[in-house]
């Protein structure tokens, strides 16, 4: 059974159709890259996977059950901007996933883990920071980091919550080419090493084909001004990368 299952999904704003009749099955451990012209509804689709927007019609299932009505720790997100919190240090940003996510009455009341749980969380956060190459910057604030470092932090923070699905909306779109290449290496490594299923929106085709197991292109069948928004985008292409990339087997690429 697939991890994410999207069936007959429509999204309309007022009388403008953005997405029409999207059908998609995403396997566990897949890395799906979502491409398409600007304004075709990629972000809208991601927002629906995140429960930030509600579909006009259709069903999205996660693990065979309809997705919850609001965002939750089962689905993590990395945006192009505003992913990390400016008032927390690098370490504080990563710890926040445990501070907010851990159960227990004290934590629910104060939004903070204490004692042994905090020490364990700190250790795990430092491991993650080391994995994304930010071990030396643990005590800095995000405004003291470069754009690439901020996105590495955003990845670490999202992964700390151990989401089933990681959603990324043009996460590396604002980075310089050299820094982007570095972070691609990191992204590939994280996907191989962790139990990750990823859906990433990107404008960069080499990035899509370089990282993903599957590239999906949204496109409107017709996009004339005279159509008045009657046609939404559909899945125009659904390309499996060949030879297949297998999660956890970097040599297989």
């Amino acid at each position: 059974m697939s991890l994410i299952s999207v069936r007959h999904l429509w999204k309309e704003y007022d009388d403008k159709v953005v997405l029409e009749d999207i059908n998609l099955e995403i396997e566990e451990r897949a890395f799906v890259a979502l491409v398409g012209p600007s304004g075709c509804g990629k972000t809208t689709f991601l927002k629906m996977l995140l429960s930030e927007e509600i579909p006009t019609r259709g069903i999205i299932e996660l693990d065979g059950k309809p997705i919850p009505k609001e965002p939750g720790p089962d689905r993590g997100v990395v945006y192009q901007r505003y992913s990390v919190f400016p008032h927390l240090t690098v370490l504080g940003n990563v710890l926040l996933a445990k501070d907010l996510g851990a159960r227990g009455p004290g934590t629910r009341l104060l939004g903070r883990v204490f004692g042994a749980a905090r020490r364990a969380a700190t250790e795990k956060a430092r491991e993650l920071l080391a994995a994304v190459g930010l071990a030396h910057a643990a005590d800095k604030y995000p405004s003291q980091l470069s754009g690439g470092m901020q996105q590495r932090l955003a990845l670490a923070q999202a992964l700390m919550a151990e989401p089933r699905v990681l959603l990324l909306d043009e996460p590396f779109g604002a980075l310089d080419p050299g820094i982007r290449a570095d972070i691609h290496v990191l992204m590939r490594k994280l996907w191989h090493e962790r139990a990750l299923t990823a859906v990433m929106v990107t404008h960069d085709l080499p990035e899509a084909f370089g990282l993903a197991t599957r590239v999906i292109a949204f496109e409107r069948r017709r996009d004339e001004p005279s159509d008045g928004g009657r046609y939404g985008a559909r899945i125009a292409k659904d390309i499996g990368i060949w030879p297949p990339r297998v999660a956890g087997a970097p040599k297989a690429v």
Partner: protein, 273 residues
């Protein structure tokens, strides 16, 4: 070079900053000397010596009738009211402002109401406060709180809704409840902005305080100024005004310093957005 590109050297900038103050003092000295030369009994622009005498009398001499030093007892009375009023308003502004900012239901319920209430001129309801709460401390503190709280509520609510919506979604994907979202994400980012808002309300707070003291009080800086007005005692009024200005200015500096020390991330984050 264009005027917009000409920068004063750092030392020169400091001199320039002092210049208007010196100019006002010099102008005062000249005008005062001219009037006193005309009429030595003139009370409107007293000489520095007369003002000095008044300062010694008000700030360093125990008043035999009350057994206190007037300037200090006035200052303590006024600051007590001011801090109480500002404190209550800040608390209400933070709690209600954040609640209205994050909870759509509360925004629907109270948004318009607070907007209307903030249009009520506070001084117009001062008589109502005197009637309902008496002429004591409560009505003066209430005037300051009522005069400032609605503006703070609106300002804070606006700043909360101005936060990037991604942060709210992001916190939820990390497991936040409504409460922990407020506690760990909204509140810490709003506090330094609250300090900014309160800074801008120091002036109005003094305005409400002095108005209330002028109308009904037996102590306080405003009370004193309006009391000695009857004798045209400019030698007392002028140092009192300068003292009030200094107090307000020190409060401003203290808040800026607090913001910088308590929220070291804020200055950079503000320019980054």
């Amino acid at each position: 070079m264009r005027l917009v590109n000409r920068l004063p050297a750092p030392g020169w900038a400091r001199v320039l900053a002092l210049l208007p103050f010196v100019a006002v003092l010099v102008l005062y000295l000249i005008a005062s000397a001219m009037r006193l030369a005309d009429n030595p009994a003139d009370k409107l622009l007293p000489s520095f010596a007369t003002i000095g005498d008044a300062i010694v009398r008000m700030a360093f001499t125990v008043d035999i009738r009350t057994g206190t030093i007037p300037l200090w007892s006035d200052t303590i009375a006024s600051l007590g009211r001011l801090f109480a009023g500002l404190g209550i308003a800040t608390l209400i502004g933070a709690v209600l402002g954040i609640a209205i900012g994050v909870l759509p239901y509360l925004r629907a319920l109270l948004g318009q109401f607070v907007a209307v209430v903030s249009m009520v001129p506070p001084l117009a309801i001062l008589p109502i406060l005197f009637i309902t709460m008496g002429l004591g401390e409560a009505s003066k503190i209430a005037l300051i709180a009522i005069g400032i709280a609605p503006l703070l509520i609106r300002d804070i609510a606006l700043r909360v809704t101005d936060m990037p919506p991604q942060q709210f979604v992001k916190a939820q994907t990390l497991g936040a409840s409504s409460w922990t979202l407020v506690l760990r994400v909204v509140l810490p980012q709003i506090l330094p902005r609250l300090i900014d808002s309160v800074r801008l309300q120091i002036g109005p707070a003094w305005l409400f305080l002095i108005s209330a003291e002028a109308i009904a009080s037996e102590s306080g800086l405003g009370y004193r100024i309006f009391l000695v007005r009857r004798y045209l005692a400019m030698d007392v009024i002028l140092p009192y005004v300068a003292w009030i200005t200094l107090l307000a200015f020190v409060m401003e500096i203290a808040l800026v310093a607090l913001q910088r020390r308590a929220f070291p991330w804020f200055a950079a984050a503000r320019t980054a957005q």
